[in-house]
Amino acid sequence: MTELCDRSGSQLSEGLRDGEITAVALAESAIARREDLDGRVAAFLTPTPEVALERAAAFDTYLATGAPQTGVAGIPLALKDVLATKGIRTTCGSKILETYVPPYDATAWTRLSGAGSVLVGKTNCDEFAMGSSNENSAFGPVHNPWDLDTVPGGSSGGSAAAVASGMTVWALGTDTGGSVRQPASLSGVVGLKPTYGRISRYGLIAFASSLDTVGTFTRSVRDAATLLGVMAGKDHRDATSLDAEVPDYAHGIDGGVAGLRVGVLAEAFGEGVEPDVAASVRAGIDRLAALGAEVGEATLPHAEYALSAYYLIAPSEASSNLARYDGVRYGLRVEGDDSIEMMFRTRGAGFGPEVKRRIMLGTYALSAGYYEAYYGQAQKVRTLILRDYAEAFERFDVLVSPTSPTTAFPIGAKADDPMAMYLNDIFTIPANLGGVPAISVPCGLDANGLPIGLQLTAKALDEVTLFRAAAALESDLGLDLRPPLLAAA
């Protein structure tokens, strides 16, 4: 049965404004869903029902005075547990931060909170956002609501699963190599990675600073536009945040795709792509053409090197960023005879296998004698990928590919093979290296009833076009995506 928590944010915002529903009833609905299902899904690390009900009650009181509201006010929101929340435990899915309580808020959350968002909790994720299956969380894997034996994708798997199962209406994640788009694809929701620098990263606990982006999980493209509009813009606390004007992202979102130049990335339909995924994405492209888009063949000639470059650049930056976990100022400490021994022991005990692997990989790639061959060369590949995008966007307004080569895979299937796991991100990584915005939109189900996502990519700061194309496809497909788990709820 459909409850309040299953509706889209824009529907709920209207309902709240018109007085048809209350924020408390809505929060209670999301909380009840979590209590009912999260024992099996494990989407949340730290639920915050008391905070949510208090905020919702305050909102209902506020609304009774007839004051205007924002598009996010009164609506349940979950945050990936890499975004700092003042006074609320923030773990990064790691034992090293298991008891860490930040003394400050991430700007993305500050802005949503200021606009009236109702926080329902912090979500499970791969440790320090490193992973594509959510199996790297120190607190156990998340189960995909579409099939509890499969992964929800990662690293923002908890946020994806929470939105897919109605434990929240929308959620934030972070996307460094696909960590919003890939889980959105595997979990049947909309996942947005905006332009690099569009949303402040202040308070986002750093993984790879030249790639990290805050992103959104929503039930509709319009909802993604609403959240981005609230969060986007310059923040003096993040020097990489862009000072560009923040447009009204919902404006013209229903304008359709007539005349829009859509480039199909031919190389993204090759080996390794499941036939059902390729067929579904191709059917989506046919729909765009039927709606009047001018569809042609595009190419990113150096995309085949993107994965290699990413798995040098991201670990290199991670090895540097994670140097701060030394057992001195916060987080786990394992005592040793001196400070250096304490540091070795703390990091050995506090980090899980994937984080250690990436720290080692990055340290090696940056070490004397190897720097030029690995990190230096990877940075040059990045230049080539930026050139590829510049050329592609001269001919096309948006590029299309599958978001992920596969649908959700069984928990444990790739856990012992890092290279196989890394290949999940083959279509999402180029947008991070290029800094361009991209969105995953559900486009169908495979033969096993698991969701498939179609990825659209636009040029830097052109989220407006991205939303318009994605909304046209979403509207035309008219999918009613509801995990089977909810039928029994």
Partner: protein
């Protein structure tokens, strides 16, 4: 070509304690990953400039105006050990005799 890695040396640089099992697994896995990663050497020629950030910004300034900052108590609240408004750590140097 398989990449030979001196795991002990890299672990020392990274300040991470690894068990013997972890070292053995890591040696094999990193070799596979680095073999794939080495593909970056195939394309990027000498005349290609490296890119550090996709949307580079230089000299980002702001007004140097005072703002509220954390109190000592808030800054030390997560410390594994503290005393006298300071972080407490094991000795970092030999004391003189």
């Amino acid at each position: 070509m398989p990449v030979e890695i001196d795991i002990d040396h890299v672990a020392k640089l990274a300040r991470v304690q690894l068990t013997d099992d972890e070292k053995a697994t890591m040696r094999d896995q990193l070799a596979v990953i680095l073999e794939h990663a080495a593909k970056v050497g195939e394309v990027a020629a000498d005349d290609v400039a490296p890119t550090a950030s996709p949307i580079p910004q230089v000299n980002v300034f702001r007004e140097d105006s005072p703002e509220p900052s954390l109190s000592h108590d808030a800054a030390l609240a997560n410390a594994p050990a503290s005393a006298d408004d300071r972080f407490l750590v094991p000795k970092i140097a030999e004391t003189g005799s």
